[in-house]
């Protein structure tokens, strides 16, 4: 196909009289809703539920799909997002009817297979992180952060004082301060030192009784391992404070080092990053939280337990922070994650982390002649470049948009905030070398274009389904639903 077809909106394809799904014939007498509901019967039929045949529906969404980029096309180097390959066997097993059609409130005696699966995953996550206990209830990374901070708060409160302040480095994801805020903590930003790590002396000076905890992403969003992490844990603990580790970048560490062994108290794990479950165009994810034994009594209820060889949900958890999700967590995501862990095994997971770091360092060394590093120190699974030295007045955004023309999804841009015009690249372990080489060649070509014809780069993309979109107009005059 040369150019993608311009697909209209569903509402412009409405074709009254067409049917896209079969409602089974009813075997009971039809009730008149008016006699039951009176004036609570729906008056107007929804205008924007289109009438289409199954063919129309399938073509519509298939055409839409052609406007998207995806991991199955090629390198998707979004830093801190860990866009690794999504194994196909995971999709198959998650669709087994014995998982997909389970009702969340079925008696435990009828769901032993699902509960065994969840228990196995909890144990695996504890083994990988060096933690003692785990909940699978949180639905995404930020949801896990909120849960973890709530655990800290409940624990400190039980010790007599919930405290007031959450310390968060300036390189952190925005979800960290937001999660702390919604747990009732005041957020205090701590500046990264010149090496991109936490400044130990400044941290020591800040140790007062009002500090509840620190939230650290390790390795951080610059890809740098927090070399003093064990000491940081000791400093915080000596102050009666807790240490939260944001596990967004766990893909660098599996089988190599474990947050539990550093002294961290609690962390979340993004199954849709490290454990290969698909990102789905923005979820669903899963954000299990693993913690040390002293936080275990506070885990969201119910907690999975085993009695006389049978699994059951223990609801009698008086210290629990309460539920964070309506039911049992994003179970079908958990199925995929366990399938991945059992596929890889202990050695495979370690190998994955090693190769993720190898790939990132390979891209770093190949891109260094073309771009300036944000920070100079050694990096693990991702690398951050800055916009310094980009020729022809070309910005990070221009470079990113021009990469689209070369058939690549751009890296994460303008994050972390502490690097000017940041370009954050994470290839993951599932990228073949030649794909990374192709990306490096594209960057080299764009840098050359920027010298010779910057205006062309600044107008990119030229070959995508859409050229640059007017985000200013969208925000000034929001049109959030279809208006005929």
């Amino acid at each position: 196909m040369s150019r993608p077809i311009e697909e209209k909106l569903l509402f412009e394809k409405d074709h009254p009289g067409r049917v896209g799904a079969s409602v089974p014939p009813s075997d009971v007498p039809e009730v008149d809703p008016r006699t039951l509901f009176g004036d609570m019967v729906r008056g107007a039929a929804p205008a924007f539920l289109p009438e289409m045949s199954e063919v129309d529906v399938v073509r519509h969404f298939t055409r839409l799909s052609t406007y998207n980029y995806a991991v199955d096309f090629g390198l998707y180097p979004l830093g801190s997002c860990t866009m690794k390959y999504n194994p196909k066997i995971n999709e198959e097993v998650a669709r087994l009817e014995g998982f997909a059609r389970l009702h969340p409130l079925q008696p435990e005696s009828t769901t032993q297979g699902a509960l065994e699966l969840m228990a196995t995953l909890q144990n695996a996550l504890c083994a990988i992180t060096g933690m003692d206990a785990c909940t699978l209830q949180p639905a995404a990374g930020a949801h896990g952060e909120f849960t973890g901070v709530q655990l800290i708060r409940a624990y400190l409160e039980n010790q007599g004082d919930a405290r007031k302040v959450m310390l968060i480095p300036d390189s952190a994801h925005g979800t960290n301060p937001a999660s702390a805020h919604f747990s009732g903590y005041a957020v205090e930003q701590i500046q990264s030192g010149p090496d991109g790590c936490v400044d130990l002396e400044a941290l020591k000076a800040r140790m007062k009784p009002d500090v509840a905890a620190i939230m650290l992403t390790v390795p951080n969003t610059l890809g740098i391992f927090e070399k003093n992490i064990a000491q940081i844990c000791r400093i915080l603990h000596a102050n009666g404070s807790q240490v939260y580790v944001d596990g967004a970048n766990l893909n660098a560490l599996m089988g190599i080092t474990r947050p539990g062994d550093w002294g961290a108290d609690v962390m979340h794990i993004n199954l849709h990053k490290t454990f290969s479950t698909p990102h789905g165009g923005g979820g669903p994810g899963a954000g299990p939280v693993a913690c040390k034994a002293h936080l275990e009594p506070y885990l969201p209820r119910p907690v999975l337990a085993k009695k006389e060889g049978r699994y059951l949900w223990d609801r009698d958890r008086p210290k629990s922070i309460g539920k964070v999700l309506g039911f049992n967590g994003n179970f079908l995501v958990l199925v995929r994650a366990l399938c991945y862990i059992e596929t890889m095994g202990a050695d495979g997971l370690k190998r994955a982390s090693e190769l993720a770091v190898l790939n990132a360092n390979y891209m770093r060394s190949k891109l260094r002649p073309l771009l300036e590093l944000g920070f100079d120190g050694p990096t693990l699974h991702e690398v951050v470049f800055c916009d310094k030295g980009l020729p022809g007045g070309v910005t990070t955004l221009d470079l990113a948009k021009r990469l689209i023309d070369y058939g690549f999804h751009p890296p994460t841009v303008y994050f972390p905030l502490i690097v000017h015009g940041a370009l954050m690249i994470e290839p993951t372990e599932t990228e073949p070398r030649e794909e990374m080489d192709r990306f490096v060649e594209a960057v080299a070509a764009i840098v050359k274009e920027a010298e010779e014809n910057p205006a062309y780069v600044k107008a990119a993309p030229h070959n995508a389904y859409r050229r640059r979109l007017d985000e200013v107009a969208a925000a000034r005059n929001p049109r959030l639903t279809y208006k005929p």
Binding site: Y414, E471, V472, A475, R476
Partner: protein, 129 residues
Amino acid sequence: MNIPSDLKYTKSHEWIRVEGNVGTAGITDFAQQELGDIVFVEAPAQGSAVAAGAPMGSVESVKAVSEINAPASGTVSAVNADLTDHPELLNADPYGKGWILKITFANTGELSGLMDAAAYAAYVAESAH
């Protein structure tokens, strides 16, 4: 960059035009340039009290939010309703049609703490380095 000589300025890049007991305030040409295309302005409601130096609203571009601090203490006596549908006025005419609100002063003595145009020009030149 435009820095009218008849206005007073704050370090957080607001301006105020003093006319007797009432001041008209907005953000400076420098501030609108730094933010880029402004897409939304959040101003305090008419009749609310504002305190000098404290946040009283915000201006947003597509990817950033910047607080507006009150240049003086007092009561909001008028708000520029045109900005709701035309936030771009802040970019096009920051000292004219892009005014944000009028404040009836609680204490005109406070105004002596603000910068004049020359001082503000020097301040901007310095903070650009």
